[in-house]
């Protein structure tokens, strides 16, 4: 650290984009409204003026088309960063991502690689209703051939992009829409790149492990704070990488606390929480002093009204209750 400074998550993403565009001329950014408008979440504001139309490209409203173009560019030796407005819209590009980007290394016997980075916003909390608010990270985390990461902190938003660009295979970065205004200290300069393979213990604890990622990290930390007042000590594990999952960090924590609660904004059925729960039972069964708990979103399309949106997604009181349930007190 060379002296801290406070920036927002949005500024961290923008800085990371600027750094990538500056460091490697093969890098270019494309997506809907990333240029003239500065990005749906204003992450690329000013970059068009700075780097020009060749490097910051507005695309038509055609996710399948521009993601496919990104795959082609990556195959051709470029390092494209493709921005998709939200994970909901990315479903239009699933064919390109799952059938092409994720498979070509394998189908070519290792002759081809797709060094593509796809960024997209995910999650609820901003009253953007059911077509903009879902958390479908686990759909991508299901697919071999992809790496999937979820920066939950400003430092990870700042540091994951470069590492993702250096990866020879496609990496999908999920930025939770409720995080863009969060502010935090990051180092003033130097190499800010961070790994994209390991989970991080964000809070040490002894009584229960909260396993979470993305937008649910701050809720989990808040719940841990509430529980600490009652003498319940929670460890909070931020997954960071959703594929591959860092089993070792999760299991080491569960071995210590003997209780695990997964906080996942995805729907419960077939969720990442389900996967983590199963792995915990496969690998840490004899460490468990309670069934693995899950705090997930209600199985409804995310509602528009604020109170219903809040009720449908994981909140601090629900996490607190789940921990108490696991502790049977």
């Amino acid at each position: 650290m060379t002296g801290g400074r406070k920036i927002t998550y949005r500024e961290a993403v923008r800085e990371a984009l600027r750094e990538a565009l500056t460091r490697d001329e093969r890098v270019f950014l494309m997506g809907e409204d990333v240029g003239r408008y500065g990005g749906a979440y204003a992450c690329s504001m000013g970059l068009l003026a700075e780097f020009g139309e060749e490097r910051v490209r507005d695309t038509p409203l055609s996710e399948s088309g521009f993601v496919g173009a990104g795959i082609g560019a990556a195959l051709g030796g470029m390092r494209p960063i493709v921005e998709i407005m939200t994970v909901n819209f990315s479903l239009l590009a699933l064919d390109q991502i799952v059938n092409n980007a994720a498979t070509l290394r394998h189908m070519s016997g290792g002759q081809l690689s797709v060094p593509l980075v796809i960024r997209m916003a995910t999650g609820a909390g901003r009253q953007l209703a059911a077509q903009h608010s879902h958390s479908l990270e686990c759909w991508y985390a299901h697919v071999p051939g992809l790496k999937v990461v979820a920066p939950a902190t400003v430092a990870d938003a700042r540091g994951m992009l470069w590492t993702a660009l250096c990866d020879p295979d496609p990496v999908v970065i999920f930025e939770h829409a409720a995080l863009y205004n969060d502010e935090s200290e990051v180092a003033a300069g130097g190499d800010l790149a961070v790994d994209i393979a390991s989970a991080a213990v964000r809070r040490q604890g002894t009584d229960a492990t909260l396993v979470t990622y993305g937008g649910s990290l701050k809720k989990s930390l808040a719940a841990a704070e509430v529980l600490a007042k009652d003498g319940i000590s929670c460890e909070v594990v931020d997954l960071r990488s959703l594929r591959p999952l860092d089993d070792r960090t999760i299991m080491a924590s569960v071995a210590k606390t003997h209780r695990a609660i997964v906080v996942d904004e995805g729907w419960r059925t077939g969720s990442l929480a389900a996967e983590i729960g199963t792995r915990t039972m496969e690998q840490a069964f004899f460490d468990l002093d309670a069934p693995v708990g899950r705090v997930c979103s209600a199985e409804v399309p995310i509602p528009y009204p604020k109170h219903l949106e809040t009720a449908a997604t994981p909140q601090v009181d629900g996490i607190v209750a789940a921990v108490r349930g696991a502790l049977r007190r």
Partner: protein
Amino acid sequence: MIEFKMPSLGADMDAGTLVEWLKKPGDAVKRGDIIAVVDTQKSAIEIEVFADGILDRLLVEPGQRVPVGTVMATIREPGDLADAGLPPKAVPSSASPPAAKSSAPVAPASAPLVAARGEPRATPAARRRAVELGVEIASVLPGPEGVIGLGEVEAAAGARAPAKPQRPGGISFDEMRKAIGAAMARSHREIPHYYVSSTLDVSPLMAWLEAENTRRPVPERLLYAAPLIRAVARALMDSPELNGHYVDGRYDPAEHVNLGIAVAMRGGGLIAPAILAAETLDLAAIMERLRDLVARVRGGRLRSSEMTAGTATITNLGEGTADSLMPLIYPPQVAIVGCGRIVERPWIVDGKIEAAKLMTVTVAGDHRISDGRRAAAFLMNLDKLLQSPETL
């Protein structure tokens, strides 16, 4: 209809876990009867009923933890109709995790929460810890929600888990097993045991007991262990060579019979606290001490004097076990009386074969102090006492 509720057994008790029902639906209950055992996390406590009637329905299952005031059972007063046709009442139950009560989006109770009967609901971590600590899982009292977790196992083992609430009491089974092993190894190594046994006809005792118990109010009813203990205590008073301590090559016959009672712990382990001056106690007093001892053994709350003052020991196998046993003397004592189960067998009385209730009693004596003749005389004396139970 009278509602039998979870009582408050102390200012700090807000909930209790039902350990067992001692009565079943249809049983007549009287004021003062003990009908349930409840664990308050401090100890297992026997719960009395405060009304007469017929136990109608049990609304709480063993292992369930319910708040004070929860209706646990209903009791039909004379004149009430049976309530069998009605659907069970909703009972505040902790069988569903507290999480499920929250309106927040947390896990519904999708897991099967009712374990097979008889199988303790212990977590995997608790089971592994129990093995590490040498604790029998079946001996561990369940905690909240009827679950045996790490906390319960560690409390049972007396282990100190840092920064976790400890349950007072509890007995370390691995320590106990070590103590039993050390004492019995010493006994087997140092004491030249001899064994003498007789099969005694206890039909008169059992017939008398049945008649006596119909006369007695339910709380004062006797188990056959009570007259047996009284008879053994009296017979030992006449056998000073079987009742005392042998220490450093010197034998001190005892003035009183502090009769050690071997009590099996739930799930394993054995302990033999003494009823002090047992020969001076009448049957009611012995019964009371016995009930008290067993309860306190289970609660892990025995007094040190009870553990050291024993001058002889009785071990009574009880129903559904074996015909006879050859026990080892508990040093520094010099004798132990082992009673097999009571079985009905052919028996010759006045030249005729009759069905009789028989018990085989074996005395192990210390050859450094006495010979088999002494124990045989004791057995004959005991037999005589048991043939006249009304004089006990």
